[in-house]
Amino acid sequence: MVVSTNSAPSGPRTSPVVKVSMGFVAVAMVCLVFADISITTLDPWSEMKRMAWGAVTPDFSVVAGIGMVIVRTIAFALLGVALGALGGFMLSQVFHLGPVRWACASVRAIHELFWALIFLQMLGLSPLTGVLAIAIPYAGICAKVYAELLEEADLPALRILPRGTGMVSALFFARLPEVWVHLKTYTSYRFECGLRSATVLGFVGLPTLGFHLETAFAEGNYSAAAGLLIIFYVLIATLRFWMRPKLVGFYVLAAPFLLGGGAAIDMGNIVRFLTVDIVPAPLRRGSFLDGQTWSDLGDWTWTLLMDQALPGMVTTLLLTQIALVATGIGALFLFPLISKKFFGPVARSVGHVFLVVMRSTPEFILAYIFLQLWGPSMLPAIVALSLHNGAIIGHLVGRFSDEVRLRPDSPRGLNLYGFEIVPRVYGQFLAFLFYRWEVIMRETAILGILGIATLGFFIDSALADIRLDRAMFLIAVTAAFNMGIDILSRRIRRRLRLRSQAGRA
């Protein structure tokens, strides 16, 4: 027998995937040391009992009154997503241009709640505020995904088009039909996200389900809150029954009339917002020619950076890294619940219900609920982010694990989990998790509105003080920070050669 002599040094070698995972866990541990985690409410147990009681005694009597609210929530989601998808599609045709790619990256780096807060300043509580808050970031997301779908598609018919065929004809005959199914699937997934977004927009005052949900919670009327949440789940669970392809056109045409009234839009407001309010204060007061103005601007920027942006970024990063690892751990625990490899049909359907509820509930609402229970600290945010995102990734990994083929004499239970399944799904799992990284950070920033001192907290405070120049500066910082994470995540995915087959988690 020939023994190779130039083999690698003996002893186990750690794979880069494991090294990166351990690195992230270590970073999260360090973050935990600096994180503020505590339960500050005096009696969380009795509040939890009241919530649990509310959950088992849902009150649907509010439903009769809010039929119109449901319709309005759907209308906001529908119009926002329709405009976003249309705009995104047009942008995807020119997505190869650098400036377009950057513009799309920056609009999608800003959460729809921040967009809503911006448009509230410009347009007031008009329906347009809600529609644009959804449409603009969604256009940025759709542009990217549509462009990727078109690029990845195999387009054999492009070769044979007669010379002189116009661009529009080529697009509709040779390109679109090949990717139509994928576009449709992705857009309907976006609509589900849009329903969540429209609901959450209620928390900043738009007349959707979220508005009534917040009222119910604020009043401690947990039965009503449970009723509203159940309606929301039913809405999402029955989506494929009422969102028929043939009816979409009709729905979109009807939607503008169902958004409800609102404050009239004042052109003066818009002009003032764009030309005065968001201009940094020193520039507004001083003359451009005066050296003092520019040194004031320097001070203004420096103070804002050191006192607000930097602390906000540190908290956002701490929370994001802890939540990312907690999400990962959550997903690894949750995925067996729906995997055929571990449970029978009855247990699996329970698992499915739990995962569907967790991933349908926006993390903002989950965080809001936990905040009521435990008081302001990072704890509610961490639990909310890891439950919601863990359920999403757990669902995808669970489905993926069903496709793993095992030898007939494979082990069972924990051994099966540890030796056969996790090693096989780990790459996919990490790919999903890194895709989610940027989403988790975007959400972390937004949870500041609820009082956790992330970037969103400082943005919300600046808006409350009507210091729009500061708010816009901080929103820009948040967007840049988010784009940085996106780039980093892409680098790591490429380095580890992670490619998610199911695409975008």
């Binding site: 054999p156 018919a157 088009l161 007669p162 010379r163 002189g164 116009g166 005959f173």
Partner: protein, 217 residues
């Protein structure tokens, strides 16, 4: 002259499949490219297609169909350049009777009339190939380049197809594996072997045995 190559290396990327190729094809010629599969016929065809600046129709080996569209739409694609974008889109959602009547006889000739509004992806391989030929016939022009257009059809159908192509196009360049049909339908045979042109002669003076060496190691 219609097509010309002067001492050129052809291939994808840096790897030349064919080296030092010089070739001139004049208008009105009917050329058959023969040789073993993998010899470089497809490479030569696609270079000729790219260089040609007149009106030429292409029948690639992968028929280049849009699987989700009907046979009508796939054939109609051969005339996209003749109409405005608006008229093309109208036909996409609502085929105009005038266009249907223009396309139907072409399909009838190739035995596809009953498939007019069937999705291309649901057709058999041979039917897909014939759909691609119908598209080229509708497109017209002064030359057609075909990569094994009769590889999935029986002898009877092959003759119908070759008749139609030679009637419609002044210049015809086809890669073919059926040597008898190649000798019968073309005016000139180009044999490819070992990365170069091993035979270039008028079809009239050749017999089947003269081509055998192309297929031997």
């Amino acid at each position: 002259m219609a097509f010309q190559l002067n001492n050129e290396d052809l291939g994808y990327g840096g790897d030349a499949v064919l080296r030092g190729i010089s070739l001139t094809v004049s208008a009105g010629e009917r050329v058959a490219l023969v040789g073993e599969s993998g010899a470089g016929k497809s490479t030569l065809l696609s270079v000729l297609q790219n260089r040609y600046d007149g009106n030429s129709a292409l029948i690639p080996q992968d028929p280049g169909l849009v699987r989700n569209l009907s046979v009508f739409h796939n054939v109609y694609m051969g005339s996209l350049h003749r109409h405005s974008a608006a008229y093309n889109l109208l036909n996409l959602v609502w085929p105009r009777p005038a266009e249907v009547e223009r396309i139907r006889p072409i399909l009838e000739r190739l035995g596809l009339a009953d498939k007019l509004f069937e999705r291309a992806g649901q057709l058999s391989g041979g039917q897909q190939q014939r759909t691609a030929i119908c598209r080229a016939l509708l497109q017209g022009g002064d030359a057609v380049l075909g990569d094994e257009p009769v590889s999935a059809t029986d002898n009877h159908q092959s003759r119908i197809i070759l008749d139609a192509l030679t009637e419609t196009f002044e210049t015809v360049i086809l890669a073919m594996h059926d040597v008898d049909l190649a000798l019968e339908y073309s005016t000139r045979i180009i044999g490819i072997k070992d990365g170069g042109i091993a035979l270039d002669a008028a079809a009239g003076g050749l017999k089947r045995a003269d081509l055998d060496f192309l297929y031997r190691d």
